[in-house]
Symmetry: D2
Amino acid sequence: MGTLGATLCAVAPGLVEIALRPGPAISQQHGFVHAGAVSAIADSAAGYAALSLMSANRGVLTAEFKINLLAPAQGDLIIARGKVIKTGRTLTLAQAEVFSQIAGQERLIAFLTATLMAIEGREGVSD
Amino acid sequence: MGTLGATLCAVAPGLVEIALRPGPAISQQHGFVHAGAVSAIADSAAGYAALSLMSANRGVLTAEFKINLLAPAQGDLIIARGKVIKTGRTLTLAQAEVFSQIAGQERLIAFLTATLMAIEGREGVSD
Amino acid sequence: MGTLGATLCAVAPGLVEIALRPGPAISQQHGFVHAGAVSAIADSAAGYAALSLMSANRGVLTAEFKINLLAPAQGDLIIARGKVIKTGRTLTLAQAEVFSQIAGQERLIAFLTATLMAIEGREGVSD
Amino acid sequence: MGTLGATLCAVAPGLVEIALRPGPAISQQHGFVHAGAVSAIADSAAGYAALSLMSANRGVLTAEFKINLLAPAQGDLIIARGKVIKTGRTLTLAQAEVFSQIAGQERLIAFLTATLMAIEGREGVSD
């Protein structure tokens, strides 16, 4: 997240927001934010939302995610909002909506769902 | 790709390889390469594989991708191999396998499928 | 839908509901409704939601869907609620939530996102 | 599977084939096999491929699958070939390719990846 220049704001239990300010380092050849950076903040927002509902000794790993890219990522700010859809004993499903903010207006640019696996006491893989 | 330190090697029509050398800027807190960086090179490998089969005046956009993360991304090199599964008039399906290379041994660490949309003459969104 | 015994209720533009009454023909070996039947009504709910926002001469095709299966499908009724997330010129993204209803209580059992492609004048593939 | 009229052929450890003969009960309004039936045999082929590599006291549950639908499902026979991509302690990733067979010629019509969860001793949810 530091390499991308993203900032994390926990909003509430099960809800997390991550914001990213567009710039040259994370842009592709047309000046839009690269899909990889959009995916990274969306996956992180979903993962932290899941983590925010777990007991302190547990971590989460992303087992899989799907992201639909709906519009080019551009504007003053890119904001990913993660939310837990369903918690389970082993697997949690979370989503993230990504918005671009231009002159105060938000527009949905991507939608992600992710399966997170709860991890306990597995050295090196907890998050 | 430059920010991540990735290098692109076209292998053959419909086949593309992207390699990434792990380092602090793209790692998460346990020293593994961040899932966002793994996704970025996998998505790019699939996208360039699709692009390699198109006529010169066309571009591609990723409409969606799903990635399954199978093992932590660590080692000397992370390699994404993109391959076209099926070309269509509007949509192309491509896959990417991501391997970690440790002491010359490769291990599958992620698997992606992506839907790429062919773009012609849409200013600013072609790739 | 007839083979499965499902019924379709359009709720509003962009919103569709499909209900399915569990029975032996669509159950697997433990008496739950088969994942294939759950997927079928979820995909249909998302597709009809997309179709409900299109002009009369257009059809939709499912290009892809992902479904997360969250709990066994059992109960008095299985209900899929489809909703459009974003419409586009060529591609529309829709979601469907599937609930099981037991003694009047609903519980989320599956979550689907689908990419629908708008089709115009392609003989045989419009829906 | 019986309702769909599908037949299962185990091919080898980690490889499973399911075949389906098109007919009115599983067709949509244009005479093609319904996407729900295609998904059902693809998911089953992937799931049985995973199951074929497990010890006898374990079952599998599909946690999620994504399917890309590449061409209409028609012809003399619809064949799903499931294959394990990677086995893990808790989660297994499998794929299925679905082909239509017309006059002896096969054509790829769908591609699925599925996450299967191994289950042991959970009454009612093992498969």
